[in-house]
């Protein structure tokens, strides 16, 4: 059974991917259901997508979610890169181990705890500093950045670890000095990891419900919050359509990240042709 299909492996694959994707596919299929009942197929239709487009509440929430996700992802990436640089470059400074453990606790912290503690912090800050005034999109962005940057840091750190330091020394040797070396040499080389970190932080922010519900205020409901409140009144095909769109969005960003990483990895045939033209 060298070249042929290995049946046990195939079945394991089918079962594994089935567990992952059957629920999602059921939802996608039912988003094209003509009937109102979620569990009864009544023919193909795209009318729920049409209705979704008419739904101002949903569209507004989508806009807010995107705004929050873009900002949170950008801030997360900036801080994540800084954290990664600190841990990889500044070697064995004091309390390094403690700090690196602290930097990754948000990954395992229950979201309810994170959300609650941030809420308490914001309330306290408002009392003492007068900022942030109430809770809104800003507080959600800050909250998402606090955990997004930890993920970003991990992604960037792994790339930075196998970064060849001597190319930075070569740049210094050729007359470049620090901020320029970072932007002309370091950043372009770790760019794939930075983009991947941004996309990861984006998706994390885009689908967060728990933390956002703690730190959002009136008029700042993001898409997951709206979806969740709608679902409590019953699942409608409209919700299925909305979820399908969210899946498409997330899938697009994951695929983009994979392509960017793949293009920079070993398979360099495409760039070979591009590069040889002066």
């Amino acid at each position: 059974m060298n070249r042929g299909v290995s049946w046990p492996a195939l079945w394991l694959g089918i079962i594994g991917f089935g567990i992952l994707y059957v629920p999602v596919m059921v939802m996608v299929v039912y988003s094209f259901n003509a009937g109102r009942l979620v569990s009864v197929w009544a023919g193909f239709s795209t009318k729920w997508y049409g209705e979704l487009m008419q739904n101002d509440q949903v569209l507004e929430a989508l806009g807010k979610s995107l705004w929050v996700a873009v900002n949170a992802a950008t801030l997360s990436t900036v801080f994540g890169v800084l954290i990664a640089l600190a841990f990889v470059r500044y070697g064995n400074f004091r309390f390094r181990l403690l700090l690196s453990a602290l930097a990754s606790t948000p990954l395992v912290m229950p979201e309810v705890v994170t959300g609650l503690s941030l809420l308490l912090l914001f309330i306290a800050m408002e009392g003492f500093l007068g900022w942030p005034a109430g809770r809104g999109l800003d507080t959600i962005i800050i909250a998402h950045t606090t955990f997004g940057m930890c993920f970003a840091a991990i992604v960037v750190q792994s790339r930075l670890r196998d970064f060849d330091m001597s190319i930075e020394e070569a740049a210094a040797d050729l007359g470049a000095t620090q901020p320029f070396i970072f932007f002309s040499i370091t950043l372009p080389v770790i760019a794939p990891a930075v983009v991947a970190a941004w996309l990861l932080a984006f998706t994390l922010s885009f689908d967060d419900l728990v933390i956002a519900s703690f730190v959002s205020g009136p008029g700042s409901s993001t898409l997951p919050i709206v979806v969740f409140s709608k679902v409590r009144l019953g699942v409608t095909p409209e919700i299925n359509a909305l979820a399908t769109i969210m899946i498409a969005l997330v899938a697009a960003s994951v695929i983009t990240a994979s392509i960017i990483i793949y293009r920079n990895a070993a398979g360099r045939v495409a760039t070979t042709q591009k590069g040889s033209q002066p």
């Binding site: 020394e169 070569a170 740049a171 050729l174 007359g175 360099r268 760039t271």
Partner: protein, 357 residues
């Protein structure tokens, strides 16, 4: 005249390891200087101190009359070609080479002109658009060389520049390197642990051991007049004979030992001194008959190996004295000796190097 590079009592330690130990060295302008030494003896550390990447724990480095202590790498009149080339992977060959020129703020037309010139110099014309990963090892090495030469440094440091190349390409590139160095009249310091490479390239060689310079001399002097048995053994093949000085004349010294040897008198030796004598294999003659020459020793062939240009012998003499020697393969000459055969070796007193250790 003050030397171009003046290294004074430089020391660098990493924890318990003395990577460079109280080292002093002067190098003149336009020299091609080779640093030679076994792995871990501190060659790279010394180069990195010259380039400014490694702290100098004590001592001083002066380049062209200026103390380098407070000068950052970017401001030194020095460029380095790294052991692993350290090309910028995301930039084309042309951008790699022009990086230093752009930093120097040269006008565009001049950058273009110099780029062309450098690409021609390292024979990479028309490859400016390629990325480093699209080049062979030898081409990458030439890009690294061009990039390091671009700013016309007063001093170029090359850390094992040819280590990644195969033997044939390495030999070609050695001559190319010497050629480029002579044309540009830049001072080169080349690090290598390949003694043949050092001999081919250098005008002077510094042999390092455990962070110290053992001997600094021209390749010829190092080979013919090593200052101790470490150097003699490190550079090429050598046979050692032990003995005690029996008599000292004007021109020669007689040494008593397992076999009595007459050596040319280098001065400074007295009767009763314990000495080691080093003889190079190509300086020893081998024949089936005794000819009554000086330093003639009866031997038995223990081992022989044909290498193409020559045959290498290992012979054993009286009292278990072992000698290594090389006989060139010339047509018409009787195939000297075979396995287990007996014969005589002899060598000129002038070819015996007397050492104290």
């Amino acid at each position: 005249m003050t030397p171009f590079i003046r290294i004074r009592n430089v020391t660098r330690r990493f924890g318990d390891v003395l990577a460079v130990d109280d080292l002093s060295l002067d190098i003149d302008r336009g020299e091609l200087f080779c640093l030679l030494g076994a792995s871990g003896c501190g060659k790279t550390t010394l180069l990195r101190m010259l380039a400014g990447f490694e702290r100098v724990d004590s001592g001083s480095i002066e380049i062209d009359g200026i103390d380098m202590a407070a000068v950052p790498p970017a401001a030194r009149p020095v460029n380095i070609m790294f052991q692993n080339y350290a090309l910028f992977p995301h930039m084309s060959v042309a951008d790699n080479i022009a990086y230093g020129l752009r930093r120097a703020g040269l006008p565009k037309p001049e950058i273009v002109a110099r780029l062309e010139e450098l690409l021609r110099l390292v024979r990479l014309d028309g490859m400016g658009g390629r990325k480093p990963h699209q080049l062979s090892g030898g081409q990458r090495q030439r890009v690294a060389l061009a990039r390091a030469l671009a700013r016309r440094p007063k001093l170029l440091l090359l850390d094992e520049p040819l280590a990644a190349l195969d033997k044939k390409l390495r030999e070609d590139t050695q001559f190319e390197l010497v050629d480029i160095q002579e044309r540009l009249e830049t001072t080169f310091i080349v690090v290598t642990h390949d003694q043949e490479e050092a001999m081919t390239l250098a005008s002077r060689i510094g042999v390092m051991d455990a962070g110290r310079l053992v001997q600094v001399d021209t390749p010829r002097t190092l080979y013919d007049r090593p200052c101790n048995s470490f150097i003699a053994d490190f550079l090429g093949t050598v046979s050692f004979l032990e003995g005690v000085v029996a008599s000292v004349n004007d021109g020669s010294i007689m040494v008593d030992g397992p076999v009595p040897v007459t050596a040319a008198n280098p001065g400074g030796f007295a009767v009763g001194d314990v000495v080691r004598m080093a003889v190079r294999p190509e300086k020893i003659a081998l024949g089936p008959e005794a000819r009554g020459a000086i330093n003639e020793i009866p031997v038995t062939v223990e081992d022989l190996a044909f290498t193409g240009v020559a045959t290498n012998y290992r012979v054993i003499g009286p009292e278990g004295v072992r000698l290594k020697l090389t006989q060139p393969n010339r047509r018409g000459e009787a195939a000297s000796l075979e396995w287990e055969q007996q014969g005589f070796v002899s060598f000129d007193p002038a070819d015996v190097v007397l050492l104290r250790d």
